[in-house]
Amino acid sequence: MRVLVVEDEPDLQAQVVRALQEAGYSVDAASDGEEGQFLGDTEPYDAVVLDLGLPKVDGITVLNHWRNNDRNMPVLILTARETWNEKVSGFDAGADDYLTKPFHMEELLARVRAIIRRSAGHASPMLECGPVTLDTRTGKVMINTAAVTLTAHELKVLSYFMHHQGRVVSQTELIEHIYDQDFDRDSNTIEVFIARLRKKLLPELIKTHRGRGYSMSCEDQDT
């Protein structure tokens, strides 16, 4: 899961980026509205944490721009202004959630998780695929009742598939959502991660569609 953080205050930006990274997300950061808008336009994010009071272009304008250009990734607005008027304009511009400063980092993480989950159409924080369950709150993976230990990258790949069950995901898409901007991307590593996931979980959990990518289909799995 790849998240964009648009926040002009460097300390707060660093804290949010670190917390999100620790929670297993690939994170890009922007320090002003212009850069944030550009990244949101060009990179496929699974969620955006957007400050409203930004230099150059303000957050509401950025959000409006994205929504008018069919950029529909979930957006969590982060702002110091907590009047209902601002909340209303934030939601009307297309925000999915709203968090006022100061906030507890756990709450921010919970909300980011929730907007990603909701945008993928899942109501519960527990994602299930056959016998495999993923708790999005803790990153804990189980097969039936047995816990499985995954590396951070394996978890990212699994999480992406769990959020987009039944859909064919190309290798490029997977790379874009798993690595942040600055990462040296290598498509071979994806194959490695998928092989490891098949081994650790179920061999037939992730199917290969030659030339198109991979898919995770849950109906076929035996419980």
Partner: protein
């Protein structure tokens, strides 16, 4: 009340002037007319003197009358028309109309030779007379001859009466016409002021945000200044809002950094800093809300539709509580225009509806009504509600009854302050849905 009305003052003063002018005019006119009538009357009497003089003749040193004037008035007894010829205080001859009475010439003044005098006197029966007398010397007669001629004063009085009647009637009509003209003038002349007053009323009631219409050049500067003042007021509020927002942003971002940084600290130090940053945040929120709200209170021309605000908030809250399946029902909330700033009212209702959503199981209901001069909104939820003895407590400062539901608990307290600023009221109770019911009352516009 009348003393403070410009119209009343103008009408009163003008009427006083009109009455005074007409009374003085009437008196002067009637005096003048009397002089005129008396002069004409005297002139006719002088004519009679001359006639009498022409009938006088001196025969052998004795004065006698060849004949008497033929005018029947001088023959009809006690007609009031008399004449008497006097020499050395002795009556030589007199009119038949005097019958056996006489003019008391001894009480009357005697004109000098060649002089004509006129005066009022009483006749034989006490009737008013107008007397004209003249003294002559006749050729061949050694004594001065004085001729007195009288006419009935009632003739003069009758003319005067007729004249006064006509004059009074005319003056009364003129006065009525003038007063009517003054009324019309005052009403028409002061119409722009009246218009201004009704426009001001519109602004106070929140139906308008500036004075519209064309005004005469005398009050146009006032209207323009007023509009400028209103615009300036709006700008000041907007500026205060922006400043408050900027201040919030400037303070809260560092607070967020500070709060997040404490996560790396040991538990005991973390609690202290978290508590302190929590208090700072609470204070900032509280005082900024208050500052923002105070700016909008008492500013004329502000109003908002509670129903519109409720539906805007419903849209937003539905998104916020999207995964909890809460139904927000709006009942009879249309046409609830209340006096107040849109953002302040949005803040009040936003906090109330948000609280209801936080506590609700599945249902939140907003019911509108009009009662007297107030708009009433009942915000209810089907949550656990609040025990009766705790109802007062949750209005208190930043109090939270249940730590399980997020939110500082400041909401209701800030709402209460805002509502009181707008002369409204907030009552807590138990809803028939099972949870808390908050009854918000605000003055209608």
């Amino acid at each position: 009340m009348f003393g403070r009305s410009v119209s009343f003052r103008l009408i009163l003063l003008s009427t006083a002037w009109i009455v005074a002018a007409l009374v003085v005019g009437g008196v002067v006119l009637s005096q003048h007319f009397r002089t005129h009538v008396e002069t004409a009357f005297d002139k006719s009497l002088v004519g009679h003197i001359e006639e009498l003089l022409s009938f006088a003749e001196v025969v052998e040193g004795k004065l006698g009358m060849r004949r008497h004037p033929s005018d029947p008035e001088y023959i009809r007894p006690l007609s009031g028309w008399y004449w008497e010829i006097v020499v050395n205080a002795e009556t030589i001859d007199r009119s038949r109309s005097l019958w056996d009475e006489e003019l008391h010439i001894e009480t009357m003044p005697v004109p000098a030779r060649g002089e004509i005098i006129s005066f009022a006197a009483l006749g034989p029966r006490g009737n008013g007379l107008r007397v004209v007398a003249e003294t002559f010397t006749l050729p061949g007669f050694e004594h001065e001859v004085t001729i007195y001629v009288t006419g009935a004063a009632s003739a003069i009085e009758q003319s005067m009466e007729e004249f006064t009647e006509t004059l009074t009637l005319s003056l009364l009509m003129l006065g009525a016409g003038l007063v009517f003209a003054v009324l019309v003038q005052v009403i028409l002349g002061l119409r722009p002021l009246k218009l201004m007053r009704s426009r001001l009323g519109d602004i106070h009631a929140g139906r308008a945000d500036r004075m519209v219409g064309t005004y005469p050049s005398e009050i146009e500067p006032l209207v323009n200044d007023l509009n400028l003042l209103l615009e300036n007021n709006a700008a000041v509020i907007k500026r205060a809002r922006t400043h408050a927002g900027n201040l919030a942003h400037a303070l809260k971002t560092p607070l967020a950094v500070l709060q997040n940084e404490t996560d790396t600290l040991p538990e005991d130090q973390r609690t202290l800093i978290r508590d302190q940053t929590g208090i700072m945040n609470e204070m900032i929120t509280r005082h900024l809300s208050r500052a923002r709200a105070a700016g909008g209170v008492g500013v004329p021309g502000l109003n908002a539709d509670l129903g519109e605000i409720a539906s805007i908030l419903k849209r937003t809250l539905t998104k916020i509580y999207g995964d909890r399946n809460i139904t927000i029902a709006l009942v009879d909330v249309r046409d609830l225009c209340v006096v107040g700033d849109f953002q302040d009212l949005e803040e009040i209702l936003g906090n109330l509806m948000d609280n209801a959503c936080k506590w609700a199981e599945t249902r939140v209901r907003i019911t509108g009504a009009r009662e007297g001069g107030f708009a009433t909104l009942l915000v209810e939820d089907d949550g656990p509600g609040v025990p009766d003895d705790k109802l007062d407590e949750i209005m208190g400062r930043g109090k939270r009854l249940d730590e399980a539901t997020p939110g500082s608990g400041l909401g209701l307290n800030i709402v209460l302050e805002l509502v009181e600023l707008y002369q409204g009221s907030l009552t807590l109770g138990r809803s028939e849905l099972g949870g808390l019911s908050v009854r918000l009352q605000l003055p209608l516009c």
